[in-house]
């Protein structure tokens, strides 16, 4: 599968909301307070107010469901979502992989509406960091 770098996304989060056990597993949310993103074709900040709505499954894997708004340094807004999983018990190192999608009205960034992407996540000292690549 061919890919090329799109952005490195760094998120800052507020304390986890522990909603607790529900019909699908244990519900948590990771509120997003901000962050930044950087890449060859776009860069800027993450607006506060997004969240990652998570279910911890019976097998321990976290199912991720994030929605955030990106603000580019030249004034475009981009709606970004991803689904994904984080399996801390994966052999070797956590398997933290996401499938981002984007929507924007800004013609300069319309290419984001036409691509699919894959992200590799890591829990950095200041919050989650996602290295996101465009699927070519």
């Amino acid at each position: 599968m061919r890919s090329r770098p799109l952005i490195t996304l760094r998120l800052t989060t507020a304390p986890t909301q522990h909603i607790g056990p529900g019909p699908h597993g244990t519900r948590l949310t990771f509120p997003i307070t901000g962050g930044s993103f950087d890449g060859d074709r776009l860069r800027g900040t993450v607006l506060p107010g997004g969240d990652d709505w998570v279910i911890q499954r019976a097998d321990g894997v976290l199912e991720l469901d994030l929605r955030i708004t990106l603000a580019t340094d030249d004034g475009a807004l981009v709606h970004m979502t991803f689904e994904g999983i984080r399996d801390d018990a994966a052999p070797g190192s956590p398997y933290f992989r996401t499938l981002p999608r984007f929507e924007t009205a800004d013609a300069r960034y319309a290419f984001l509406n036409r691509l699919l992407a894959v992200g590799t996540g890591e829990l950095g000292a200041d919050g989650p960091v996602h290295v996101i690549e465009e699927i070519l």
Binding site: I85, D87, L115
Partner: protein, 149 residues
């Protein structure tokens, strides 16, 4: 990003249901009649009853929302959900619509996939995400599906 081949999957699409212009675009539902899949770790058939729920957006991009059940040669059932985008130059898309043989390198047909199974031999599928490249043959798409490592 590192990946490795998971499987190829060929589906056969039955007559499409053209629902038409709906608020989000043009809705066409493609029932899946049959198919087969093959890879280093699993192989078998695509059961009838799945489908690809497609939406042609105003910007010319086709969104594809596929759900099928796979049955492995050793009797495991696997639920597959795949979200995809397809777009290309107008003449290429027109050739696909006619059922012509078209080089898949001339258009963008990519999907992201998730799997669910209760069979212990295939539990690894519950703990990965996958990406595919589609080749829209006349009888139905052929997907080359890679596991994201």
């Amino acid at each position: 990003m590192e990946s490795r081949l998971l499987m190829t999957m060929q589906v056969a699409v039955a007559g499409p249901q053209r629902i038409g212009a709906v608020p989000h675009g043009t809705r066409v539902t493609a029932p899946i009649a049959s198919g087969h899949f093959e890879g280093p770790r699993l192989r078998g058939k695509v059961l009838p009853g799945g489908g690809d729920w497609t939406l042609l957006r105003a910007d010319g991009v086709l969104e594809l929302d596929l759900r099928v059940t796979l049955e492995t040669d050793d009797g495991a059932l696997i639920h597959v959900a795949s979200f995809g985008l397809r777009h290309g130059p107008p003449d290429v898309i027109a050739a696909l619509a006619r059922g012509d043989r078209v080089d898949p390198a001339t258009y963008y047909f990519r999907t992201t996939l998730r799997f669910e199974t209760s069979h212990p031999a295939y539990g690894f599928l519950n703990r990965l995400v996958a990406v595919s490249s589609g080749d829209r043959r006349a009888a139905g798409p052929l997907y080359t599906i890679d596991e994201i490592l």
